[in-house]
């Protein structure tokens, strides 16, 4: 699959929440889009990632 423009090899289906935890994302500071559609936070633990998915994980930092 492609995450933030980079190829990531995925041997088997992976739950989104597992991936985010593994990569140490702060769940309160991100927005995740899968194939151009937002994944609501309530669905992080039921969304499965597959090898042909294109994922964007947008991280927000403070300042405005």
């Amino acid at each position: 699959m492609v995450v933030n423009g980079k190829n990531v090899s995925l041997k088997q289906e992976l739950c989104l929440i597992k991936y985010l935890q593994e990569k140490k994302y702060s769940l309160d500071y991100i927005a995740v889009e899968k194939n151009g559609t937002i994944i609501p936070k309530s669905k992080y633990n039921t969304t499965m990632l597959q090898d042909d998915d294109v994922i964007e994980i947008v991280s927000f930092v403070g300042g405005g």
Partner: protein, 210 residues
């Protein structure tokens, strides 16, 4: 006092008739009126965007003046009122709608349903994420221009506009947060605000690429 026609003709002279027609039809919401939002609002007002919906719960503080579009005389005023006052001095015929409220998960639907383009210009990362998630979930057909990473005095050239998906744009360097070394400063905050404002203007004029 200048008439509506005089101000409109001046804008047409600078931008052309067809461009101004489209800008006049613009209906943009700006969430957060700090270093990003106050600059975005003034730029959209100067080019003659017809309707600007400004949202912020806060009052002007003396520490805002290093980067936000307020004056000493505004300290203690609601940011919504202070900014509206200034915009009407630039163009009194813009339809300004203000909401002096904090954006929450609960009020997103009711705050933004009337606007075509939404500019996320909040400060705290969890609030930025909350608004972006809410808009993308409830209003995926609306254009969203958000921001992340504008603190300090890093290179100007690291601030970019990216298109995350069809209706979702993100401006900033993506990484530079507020720290002891990197406070929020006028120039870089305005740089990111210019990216947001120009992307909004492009969208109003039918350009979807960054």
């Amino acid at each position: 006092m200048y008439s509506k026609k005089e101000i409109y003709q001046a804008l047409v002279k600078r931008h052309s008739f067809s461009t101004q027609q489209l800008l006049k039809k613009g209906n943009v919401a700006i969430a957060g009126l700090g270093g990003l939002g106050s600059n975005v609002a003034i730029m959209l007002a100067r080019v003659g965007v017809g309707q600007i919906h400004m949202i912020d719960f806060d009052v002007v503080d003396i520490t805002n003046l290093n980067r936000q579009q307020y004056f000493l005389e505004h300290i203690g005023m609601n940011k919504t009122d202070a900014l509206k006052q200034q915009i009407l001095k630039i163009n009194p015929y813009i339809n300004i709608i203000t909401d002096c409220v904090k954006v929450t998960e609960q009020n997103i639907k009711q705050l933004f349903y009337k606007n075509d383009i939404i500019c996320e210009a909040l400060d705290a990362p969890e609030e930025k994420a909350m608004l972006v998630n809410g808009i993308r979930e409830y209003f995926p057909e609306k254009k969203l221009v958000a921001s992340s990473g504008l603190a300090g005095y890093e290179s100007s050239n690291s601030i970019k506009t990216r298109r995350i998906s069809k209706n979702f744009y993100l401006c900033g360097d993506g990484i530079t947060k507020i720290s002891e070394k990197n406070g929020l400063m006028a120039a870089r905050a305005a740089l990111c605000a210019c990216h947001e404002a120009n992307m909004i203007i492009r969208l109003l004029l039918g350009e979807e690429e960054v």
